[in-house]
Symmetry: C2
Subunit: 447 residues, 2 copies
């Protein structure tokens, strides 16, 4: 049992300008890749030892992919080829501009430049009850837990006589009509159609309800209204119930209460509603707005020329994007790459260049042969062609040859068999108050 | 939060003779497959919803395979094609011969025939301290936990200055020189050689120790002495330290004490030493011996013509195997298939036929191009040809087309890249007393 105080960061001083990158997501990884060379010492901190391809996390939750297929060990991305790169799996506790240091649970380190690339965390808007009972979907263990919950709900529904209780197990409420909510709802509907009737011959899955709740008047609000409309049609075709202009007021683990008073019983409420920046203590309040760091066009946090923020955690206002960039992978990737160039410019005493976001378009998949795409030049695709585009783009951007291989073979397998390959129940952590949790504990009780 | 008392087994009475199979392992699954048809109602209970291919579990623990690659959902193995088959994911609490019922956590069910196929559980020989601190390797969550522990040990060793503590993190003690212990030791040695130096350029892996402890005078005791000798040479070639004729007396999570007094510091002690039958309450003591059910040549538990035991949980003495069969997959598979035929004979009032084990031979892999094989007719192979045989046999017996596909692509990838694909740290459960556990809790502490 190693104690935190027995550990130390152990990072050599190589006299090069030190860039400390906090977070190994899209922004941090793309920045670090571009800094490879002789000019910088690069230090990366992350609580996890892997880089996750989050756009496919919902497929882990719906038993379409194994977790390892969408994650790549950070040490594998930056191996010994990359000299003077140092990864440490630790949690950062604060940034200290006064001393130009970063504090972690195992000690402090000085920086020449620090880049905050911590992304977002679920935002429950202060509702502790929802936070306690809802299933978030931001991390791999959470996806595994949701997968276990979904599958276990069917196992339990199959063993219940009380019709109200059974219905409650078969009601899946997804809060949030963004890409995660939509794609999750679509994947669940496909499971209901192709997988579950085979698994549970005795059960009537016409009773299984997938309810997608969105506070605004359309799904996929960031996308074009045409695509939102098409998505809505697709969702209704595959039997997803849409509740637009609807907000969840409370959830006690069994009963969902909507603003306005309507109620529905459900044992599974999935929270894809809101996120807020995963901020780090140490910077003054005026450096942030709505949980994000205010940055200039060079990704410098206002007031701190040597502290940068990129990706979802950064709020960069530009003429074209007065409210900041969309919270997707592309701005993070592009800001990471752009910041690398600017860091070179800084050490070469060259003037910085402002970041400009190139919108490659956005895609969402609803189901087999059903997807929507907003492309540049106000071009909008849907149906089979958008679906093929979605598959292609996601394989293309997926990290690592191995991941591409595994994901592709999973998808090919799934396409021909209509099967979700990975329907095994692994509980990554225990919610003591539910049966699954108790069952999970029992697994370790070998007596 | 469903409560156990709200659940019920919900199994229809179809008037057919009911076979209750407890356990979805090699024995139970192969029995159930052969009972498919019009003659029986088949009920299967398992605490997990999947059938695991345990001979490859050690590769999950050493980051060679994702858990989903070696597991197949039981409902997928027995889908709606198989009429009057009923799987329930529940824990069986007792068998009641007086009432001819089986009790589970969610209720009782009557049986015409009950088959105990529960396999084994780790045996710590009553040492509670070892049970608390050692890492077992019998279930998928345990393999994921061991994988996390191994990888986290390197992350931590990389952040430690105290040389004694670092050495303790780099000492991996594997107790038990059977197939699991040997294959695990071999896989760790391959990682040390090909993977870790790339991941941790700063670290000196000549300091990493893999110590394999066996109580008898040779490894792989069930195999032929020739193969044991060859295995020993292989293990020494790849740098595994062998401690034969050695027993572990105690382990407190940091210090291993061997019988005789010798001590070694290690933060990771893997327990592959002994197993005992996973018995179910309800049968009299005289029906068991050393934790296994005594069965006759028809797999009937002595004294109970309608209660059967197959696989590792059964102790069948025969002329050729006076001490029972080896605790591997083949006897379980063959007994499952054979018992199916005998159950048909029973309902047809035909005389039963005694089980006879056909030994197809046994294989063990130590590393790349290094394996040993005992084949019938006292034929012994080693080296590359045995290694190829091992790969072929394991792919051949692996359950499910998808698993074959994923495992094969993983192995091909690994063969050419020397990479272990799935080095991501997922903690399936929390050991509160260690840093990893604390880190894991922190992942959920989103504030």
């Amino acid at each position: 049992m190693i104690q935190v105080n027995e550990l130390t960061l152990n990072i050599p001083d190589t006299k090069k300008p030190r860039v400390v990158i906090i977070g190994g997501g899209f922004g941090g990884v793309n920045l670090a890749k571009k800094l490879k060379g002789k000019d910088f010492q690069v230090v990366m901190f992350d609580r996890h030892n892997y880089h996750g391809f989050w756009p496919l996390l919902y497929q882990v939750a719906t038993a379409g992919l194994e977790p390892d297929a969408i994650a790549e060990p950070l040490r594998k991305l930056f191996d010994k080829e990359y000299e003077d790169f140092h990864f440490r799996q630790v949690r950062v506790t604060s940034i200290n501009p006064a001393t130009k240091t970063v504090s972690t649970i195992v000690g402090d380190i000085s920086y020449d430049f620090v880049v905050i690339a911590t992304g977002t965390k679920p935002n429950y808007f202060g509702n502790e009850q929802i936070k306690k009972y809802a299933f978030p979907l931001k991390q791999i263990p959470e996806a595994l837990n949701l997968r276990s919950q979904l599958l276990q709900s069917f196992e339990q529904a199959n063993m219940i006589n009380d019709p109200e209780l059974r219905q409650s197990l078969l009601n899946f409420v997804i809060v949030g009509g963004g890409p995660t909510g939509v794609e999750l709802a679509g994947a669940l509907a496909e499971m209901r159609r192709h997988v579950l009737p085979n698994d549970y011959p005795g059960m009537d899955f016409s009773k299984m309800k997938i309810i997608l709740v969105e506070g605004m008047d359309r799904v996929l609000p960031p996308m074009d209204p045409k695509s939102s409309q098409k998505t809505r049609e697709y969702l209704e075709e595959i039997g997803v119930e849409l509740k637009l202009n609807t907000l969840v007021e409370s959830y006690d683990g069994q009963l969902v209460t909507f603003k306005g008073g309507e109620q529905i019983r459900s044992h599974t409420l999935i929270w894809a509603a809101g996120v807020s920046g995963a901020q780090i203590p140490g910077l003054p309040p005026e450096a942030s707005e709505r949980g994000r760091y205010l940055v200039n066009l060079y990704n410098q946090v206002v007031g701190f020329p040597d502290i940068f923020a990129i990706g979802d955690i950064a709020l960069m206002r530009s003429e074209k994007y007065p409210n900041g960039h969309p919270g997707v992978a592309q701005p993070a990737i592009q800001q990471g790459r752009h910041l690398a160039k600017n860091l070179y410019r800084i050490i070469r005493k060259e003037p910085l260049e402002p970041f400009e976001y190139f919108d490659k378009g956005s895609l969402a998949i609803i189901g087999r042969n059903r997807a929507v795409a907003d492309l540049p030049k106000n071009l909008h695709l849907s149906g089979f062609i958008a679906w093929v585009a979605w598959l292609f783009v996601h394989i293309y951007y997926l990290i690592g040859f191995r991941n591409k291989l595994v994901v592709l073979s999973n998808w090919i397998y799934k396409f021909f068999t209509y099967e979700n390959g990975t329907r095994i129940i692994i509980r990554p952590f225990i919610r003591k108050d539910d049966l699954a949790g108790q069952e999970f504990i029992k697994k370790y009780d070998v007596d």
